[in-house]
């Protein structure tokens, strides 16, 4: 059992956990922050996405110990009080959800994208979001929501007081077959802005800490 210090949504936590424990498990099981979802356990669906130092990262394949001391933001920490983040608001306005199980991961990935690229084109949005799955198929609405949020955020940055016009719908790219199973998603992950590969590497390193059983109860 190791003692891991985590900074989540501007709060400090000390968690007693096996150092192999994933960040997602720490969030959900130890801290009862259940807004980040389990969807696949291998970083292929994006439901577990959180921000680490502002960048999207798959918490299910990130070892909690590897992000100790870094700034972690989960969906629960995105709004400022009652004021929603523009991306959250845009998802509501556009109705970019059905069952909404993917929504927190989608929103976190989109926030990360807009931080890096405040005016993404439609195809840049598609590329950046390719690692997030919405099984209900609300993708076109999610793209629209991200475009709307981008406009709102640009406007507030420019202090113009009104949203910049949203780029007109360009022809959307269609299904391309082949690639094989999810190769596009893998490619998207590889070039993702997160420290995903690095996180996997750190997973392999630090096995020195004694592994102890977690006690009964929490």
């Amino acid at each position: 059992m190791a003692s891991i210090r985590l900074s989540i949504n501007q709060r400090e936590y000390k968690v007693e956990a096996d150092p192999q424990t994933s960040l997602l498990t720490v969030l959900r099981e130890h801290l009862d922050l259940t807004g980040s979802k389990y969807g696949c356990g291998e970083g292929m669906c994006g439901a577990c996405t959180v921000l680490v130092d502002g960048k999207a990262q798959r918490s299910c394949i990130t070892r909690a110990a590897s992000v100790a001391g870094r700034q972690i933001t989960t969906i629960e920490g995105l709004a400022q009080g009652e004021r929603l983040h523009p991306v959250q608001q845009a998802f509501l306005d556009v109705g970019a959800m059905q069952c909404a199980y993917c929504t927190s991961g989608m929103i976190m990935s989109a926030v990360s994208l807009l931080k890096r690229n405040p005016s993404p084109s439609e195809s840049e949005i598609v590329d950046a979001m390719e690692g997030n799955v919405c099984r209900c198929g609300t993708y076109p609405r999610i793209v629209s929501a991200i475009q709307q949020a981008a406009g709102v955020m640009r406007a507030s940055r420019n202090n113009e007081g009104r949203p910049a016009p949203i780029a007109p719908q360009t022809a959307r790219r269609g299904v391309v077959a082949p690639p094989g199973p999810s190769t596009r998603a893998k490619a998207a992950l590889a070039q993702d802005d997160n420290a995903f590969v690095a996180a996997q590497q750190t997973l392999a390193q630090d096995d020195k800490i004694l592994i102890a059983e977690k006690g009964v109860g929490r």
């Binding site: 096996d18 192999q20 424990t21 498990t25 099981e29 009862d32 259940t34 807004g35 979802k37 389990y38 969807g39 696949c40 291998e42 292929m44 669906c45 439901a47 629960e76 929603l84 959250q88 998802f91 509501l92 306005d93 109705g95 959800m97 059905q98 069952c99 909404a100 199980y101 993917c102 929504t103 927190s104 598609v126 590329d127 799955v133 919405c134 099984r135 209900c136 198929g137 609300t138 993708y139 076109p140 999610i142 793209v143 022809a171 959307r172 790219r173 269609g174 299904v175 391309v176 077959a177 082949p178 094989g180 199973p181 999810s182 998603a185 059983e213 977690k214 009964v216 109860g217 929490r218």
Partner: protein, 752 residues
């Protein structure tokens, strides 16, 4: 079309239904005798036990209701027997409970004017929590935020067979409108009594009753104060016609959307209780495997609770990691029989027919005219075979349940489309009366027909009983891919005959295993033989969004295209020539217009269509593809859908469902297929099973044919069925290659 109309009756003279339902038949999980997963799962139990009814004695105990709900105004909705049988199924309420079996919903307005509606339907992403709230708000004239829906809670809501088959909108939406209208009339009556005036002078608006002559008003809360008024749904309850709707008919976002974008909503897998442990189940290495030896000593030495009950072996522990470690420490030997692989699938289905029936569709066999004579006389004949593979639902939230025992009383929070069905399964598994089982269904992370069963509920309950504390079981993605059930694979043979002018004269259709839903042809064909053949099948199979209608429409609408080409007719013209149904013609024509059918093609471009009638809705889907024969790339550029589901309740919600159907449908049409061999799933991970992603989505255009003169019907399934044939026909149009198996291009278009 079946007559779906029904009128309401008071409870006392309302006929009851058969209490001896076979509904729970699929729930054959018995501890000590079976593995943890039933191999036979009932598919959509729509046709069960509609006939017989028995008298019952009912005495609605008002005091009970008001003790539970508080003072106010209560309206109870009762279905007429025929519909009750279909919607409410075999009532599983035990004796001694004084509720009539036909109650399908009730609405209560408390002393603060807050409206609470109780329905057994559940929210799985189809957004009925919103559309049903709209229906109530419309008729009751209250703001949306004054209304709460309690859904799918077996203690608080009336029995409901389940949320599937696109039944919520045509039945529950209408019932709730009636209930709300009755409540409104009751409130107007109270105001009239208070003011000693004629109710005709009064109107309900915006949460209050107003006197048109004097303009005085009374809030609903002031009217319900101190009241204990209960009433059954009256016979006559004129509803607001769709053309005058103000709240219904509008695009309204998820009523509790804010909880979802902030992560506050708790799905079944997010449930938590003090002292809760996490459960894991030991899985056999192959389907149907049985234990031959087991050594649990090492696991039992850990800080965990270990259970062996027959072939069920599981553990619970303070953390998931500990539970996993304990399961890994169990040494088990299994024995299993050799099983077929997906390579032998279609041969096997065709060769192993059984006497079974399909409970899902509208019938297993249809005959008209004389098929043999018509075939002999036909000038053009065509015979083809179509296939569909097994596919997985892949709900993004896997199955999950949290179970807790209080003595012999069991409470389970779980994700299911059939909370009352799961209650029955739990009662049967633990041999306790259903009154002792309480199932709650928090709005869940989708189902698509894949969560009709209660596997995790039973597992969590068994582990919780052993651990003497609450236990939560959440399946991993691999477990969900392996131990849930699949959409049935199938083989469809079609033989057809036409006269020289393209009139279809003969139609013979044989479906092996995929199911009979949507099997009947809506084209005018005088001579038909349509047969569903049950077969032995290798994987656990069950319901799926649109179920067999996808396979049957794919085969029928692909074949229609092949017939059109055989007589050198335009595929649209050919369809319309053989189609009388006015609403179906209308969607084909609307979609064709929007699509620009008949325009010139660019090289490699192809246009195709598919459509039909399913779950009371009418659909036509037109697709544009781009095919590169060199690379094998197939690109879907654009999909245009025209849909008629009667009067539209929530236009954006409806568009969302249609777009989602098309996106999800792309997967099964083009690349989704379960690979299996010898009792194992070979591609049971998200990295191995391709689902549609952002880049797969074409331009999606939707035409809503808003028929305000027609009753509103469901929209979660029908829009899916036109896509696969539209894509196949478009691929043929682009390059002359006819694809007759789903998925069509899992590895691109092979070189010819």
């Amino acid at each position: 079309m079946k007559d779906r109309s029904f009128d309401t009756k008071t409870v006392r003279d309302g006929a009851s239904r058969n209490p001896h339902s076979k509904f729970a038949k699929g729930a054959n999980l018995e501890w000590g005798t079976r593995t943890s997963v039933a191999t036979q799962v009932e598919i959509e139990p729509e046709r069960y036990e509609l006939a017989a009814s028995a008298p019952y004695h009912f005495d609605l105990d008002r005091r009970e209701f008001f003790r539970f709900l508080g003072a106010g105004v209560l309206v109870v909705s009762v279905l007429k027997s025929g519909v009750a049988a279909q919607e409410s199924g075999g009532s599983r309420r035990g004796r001694g409970e004084s509720l009539p079996k036909e109650i399908d919903a009730w609405l209560h307005i408390n002393e603060d004017g807050k409206v609470t509606v109780y329905t057994g339907k559940v929210e799985v992403g189809q957004n009925i929590r919103t559309s049903l709230t709209q229906a109530v708000a419309e008729e009751l004239h209250v703001a949306l935020d004054k209304i709460d829906l309690v859904m799918g809670d077996t203690k608080l809501t009336p029995f409901d067979m389940g949320t599937f088959g696109s039944r919520t909108t045509p039945t529950m939406n209408l019932q709730l409108r009636r209930v709300a209208a009755a409540a409104r009339d009751a409130l107007v009556g109270l105001a009239a009594a208070q003011w000693k005036t004629d109710a005709k002078n009064l109107v309900a608006e915006d949460g209050r009753v107003r006197d048109r002559q004097t303009n005085r008003t009374l809030e609903y809360a002031a009217l319900t104060k101190g009241q204990q008024i209960a009433q059954m749904l009256p016979d006559q309850d004129p509803l607001i016609p769709p053309k005058d709707w103000k709240i219904a008919g509008q695009s309204i976002g998820k009523v509790d959307g804010r909880d979802f974008v902030t992560g506050r909503h708790r799905y079944p897998s997010d449930q938590n209780l003090p002292e809760m442990w996490y459960g894991k189940v030991l899985r056999p290495p192959a389907f149907g495997a049985t234990l031959t030896s087991i050594d649990m000593q090492k696991a039992e030495g850990m800080l965990v609770s270990v259970v062996r009950d027959g072939d069920f072996v599981g553990v619970s522990a303070p953390s998931t990691a500990q539970a996993e470690a304990a399961v890994a420490a169990i040494q088990a030997e299994w024995k299993s029989e050799p099983q077929i692989s997906n390579k032998e699938l279609f041969d096997s289905l065709r060769k192993n027919t059984t006497e079974g029936k399909d409970p899902t569709g509208d019938g297993d066999r249809f005959d008209a005219g004389s098929i043999d004579m018509a075939m002999a006389a036909a000038e053009h004949k065509l015979q083809q075979t179509y296939t569909v593979n097994y596919i997985a639902h892949v709900p993004l939230e896997p199955r999950a349940a949290l179970a807790k025992w209080d003595g012999d009383e069991l409470t389970v929070w779980t994700g299911t489309q059939r909370p009352f069905g799961v209650r029955g399964q739990l009662a049967e598994a633990f041999r306790i009366p259903e009154e002792k089982v309480h199932v709650l269904m928090p709005d869940m992370g989708s189902g698509y027909g894949g969560k009709h069963t209660g596997e995790t509920a039973i597992e969590a309950a068994r582990l919780a009983r052993a651990a003497k504390r609450p236990v939560k079981v959440v399946w991993t993605r691999e477990e969900e891919f392996t131990w849930a059930y699949f959409r049935p694979a199938g083989v469809i043979d079609i033989s057809s005959g036409m006269s020289a002018d393209g009139t279809i004269t003969a139609w013979e259709f044989h479906n092996y295993n995929s199911g009979s839903a949507g099997m009947q042809s809506y084209y005018n064909i005088p001579n038909q033989r349509i047969v569903f053949h049950a077969t032995k099948y290798p994987l656990r199979q069950g319901s799926y969004r649109a179920l067999a209608a996808t396979a049957n429409h794919f085969a029928r609408e692909s074949h229609m295209d092949e017939m059109a080409h055989a007589v050198k007719m335009d595929p649209l013209e050919f369809r319309l020539k053989n189609l009388e149904e006015e609403r179906l013609r209308a969607v084909f024509e609307a979609a064709a217009k929007k699509f620009g059918w008949g325009r010139t093609k660019a090289p490699g471009q192809g246009f195709g269509m598919g459509g039909g009638y399913e779950k009371l809705g009418y659909i036509a889907t037109f697709a544009e593809v781009q095919v590169d024969r060199k690379s094998g790339e197939v690109k879907v550029a654009r999909v245009v859908t025209a849909f008629d589901c009667g009067a539209v309740v929530n236009p954006e919600g409806l568009r969302n469902q249609i777009e989602g159907s098309n996106v999800q449908g792309l997967g099964g049409a083009l690349f989704e297929a379960i690979q299996f061999d010898n009792g194992k799933i070979l591609n049971g991970r998200m990295s191995e099973y391709r689902v549609p992603r952002f880049s797969d989505v074409p331009v999606l255009e939707t035409v809503l044919v808003d028929r305000k003169d027609q009753p509103s019907v469901g929209a979660g399934e029908c829009p899916m069925v036109g896509l696969a044939p539209a894509l196949g026909n478009a691929i043929f149009d682009a390059c002359g290659v006819r694809l007759r198996g789903l998925p069509m291009v899992p590895d691109g278009l092979k070189a010819s």
